[in-house]
């Protein structure tokens, strides 16, 4: 269960996942933030207003997937490293995930795809990495994954720290 092993269950995920139609249309953010904690940077990081300002600091983020264009700014702004961008309009699909370990993977590298429970799910290719001033040391790694794993891959391993 989420509260004892910190791994989201299908029911938890269903509530924060856009419709299949929206997912198929292009990149979109998914906030796997399931607990009410005093935190709101995602809402003010998003310049498109897709995460409306919080009325209560402890509320959970609600992303308006029609306004979200999957720009990924919120991915590195979230201190919980809980936001991912999924793009199922491409083949293979692309998952953008926050990454704070060294060394950083290089574009083109083959990496192990990892699920929420730390288990390996297969291999994927790093397409791109954003690691500039905006990301403030929370790199955003773009990794190509088979479409059926787009909602499962949330971390990568390739032999650096944090393995």
């Amino acid at each position: 269960m989420l509260s004892s092993n910190a791994v989201a269950e299908p029911a938890d995920l269903a509530a924060v996942t856009p419709s299949p139609e929206r997912l198929a249309r292009g990149p979109v953010a998914i906030a796997e933030c399931f607990q009410q904690i005093p935190c709101d940077p995602c809402s003010w990081a998003c310049r498109r207003g897709a995460i409306p300002p919080f009325v209560d600091l402890n509320q959970r983020p609600e992303i308006d997937w029609e306004l979200c264009n999957g720009c990924g700014v919120c991915v590195s702004a979230c201190p919980g490293l809980a936001i991912f961008v999924v793009d199922l309009s491409r083949d293979p699909a692309v998952v953008r995930l926050p990454y704070e370990f060294l060394p950083r993977p290089e574009a083109g590298a083959t990496v192990t795809l990892v699920g929420r429970d730390g288990c390996a799910l297969g291999e994927g290719r790093v397409q791109r990495i954003q690691d500039g001033r905006v990301q403030d040391r929370t790199a955003v790694v773009w990794v190509e994954v088979p479409a059926d794993l787009a909602m499962a891959v949330r971390h990568i391993r390739f032999g650096g720290n944090g393995q």
Binding site: I37, P79, G80, F101, G162
Partner: protein
């Protein structure tokens, strides 16, 4: 905060999404710019009711007479009692952070973390970032105590969370070589046969903090035991002033909480002390109301319930004392 390399929660007003170390640097710069004189490596050894502080700075010891003082000494770590808990290799989480982030020294190769509160989770993550293997995080409770987003970060990095588990004993003669752990049953005992050995060279204890209130005890401030706030905390009025006039408190020493609320409390204690000294700026009511709103927001959710409960108890203690004194 200097040792916190992760991005912080909270709202924009408390610098959320900035890393702890960067918040510390920004606040230090702000204070310097405002003309605050900072004494580094200076320890307050004593605080007396007449407003005299005894301060040791490196080789010198001086007394300082103050009109008002804000005590913000933070908190100290709690520890656990188990056989062999004095073996080298057993550290508090604060010590591990100091080694990693102030001195750049790895505490060991394989770590068992004890405690799945925010500190245990965050320090586990920092150990992983430093290239240290974290074998597991042990937690006596049924559920993870810290924020789930912190727990999920280390979970996907492959660290198991062993809830309902505790330390039975430490192994080793000259230094730690392993830890015997066991599963807890419903009455808090070890399930027979559930004991097993984890081979590790470091055990890191992150089992809670308690206010570092020695100076307040010494000054004769009235203290109350409030478990929800971490132990003995100073009784105070709504303006962060203790029962000794002129001594104010802020941050973890006033009740173990978060950096975000500590920053706001610091602002409040500063405002109150300044006002009481005659610096009665017309902005005061506005700044005060703003701080109160921020604190209420930070503490308003389900994870703030314990703090709210503790503060309510503390307010009740004070109300009783005021009634008794009147």
């Amino acid at each position: 905060m200097l040792k916190q390399t992760h991005k912080f929660f909270g709202s924009r007003r408390q610098h959320a999404a900035m890393r702890g170390m960067d918040i510390a640097a920004a606040m230090a710069a702000e204070a310097m710019q405002a003309g605050v004189e900072v004494w580094l490596e200076a320890t307050v050894l004593g605080l007396y009711q007449d407003g005299v502080l005894l301060v040791q700075q490196r080789e010198r010891v001086v007394t300082v007479q103050v009109a008002r003082v804000v005590i913000a000494t933070g908190a100290g770590e709690k520890t656990l009692a188990f056989p062999n808990n004095d073996l080298p290799g057993i550290y508090g989480a604060g010590a591990v952070q100091t080694m990693l982030h102030l001195y750049g020294v790895l505490p060991g190769r394989r770590v068992l973390m004890v405690g799945a509160g925010n500190i245990g989770l965050i320090v586990s993550y920092q150990l992983l970032q430093a290239g240290v293997e974290v074998i597991a995080v042990l937690e006596a409770m049924r559920e993870v105590g810290g924020y789930l987003v912190h727990a999920s970060k280390i979970r996907r990095a492959g660290v198991p969370l062993l809830t309902r588990h505790t330390v039975v004993g430490a192994l080793g003669t000259r230094f730690l070589t392993g830890v015997v752990i066991g599963r807890l049953d419903d009455s808090g005992g070890i399930v027979p046969g559930s004991e097993r050995v984890l081979e590790v060279d470091v055990m890191c204890l992150a089992v809670g903090l308690t206010p570092a209130a020695e100076l307040l005890w010494q000054a004769g401030c009235r203290m109350a035991y409030i478990p929800e706030l971490g132990g003995h905390v100073p009784v105070r009025d709504g303006r962060m002033q203790t029962t000794v006039p002129g001594i104010y408190v802020a941050g973890d020493v006033a009740g173990v909480e978060e950096a975000s609320s500590a920053m706001v409390e610091g602002r409040m204690a500063g405002l109150a002390a300044a006002w009481d000294m005659g610096f009665q700026s017309p902005q005061y009511p506005h700044l005060w109301a703003e701080a109160e709103t921020e604190l209420a927001a930070l503490r308003g959710g389900p994870v703030g319930a314990r703090i709210r409960q503790g503060l309510a108890k503390l307010a009740a203690v004070r109300a009783r004392e005021v009634a008794a004194g009147a």
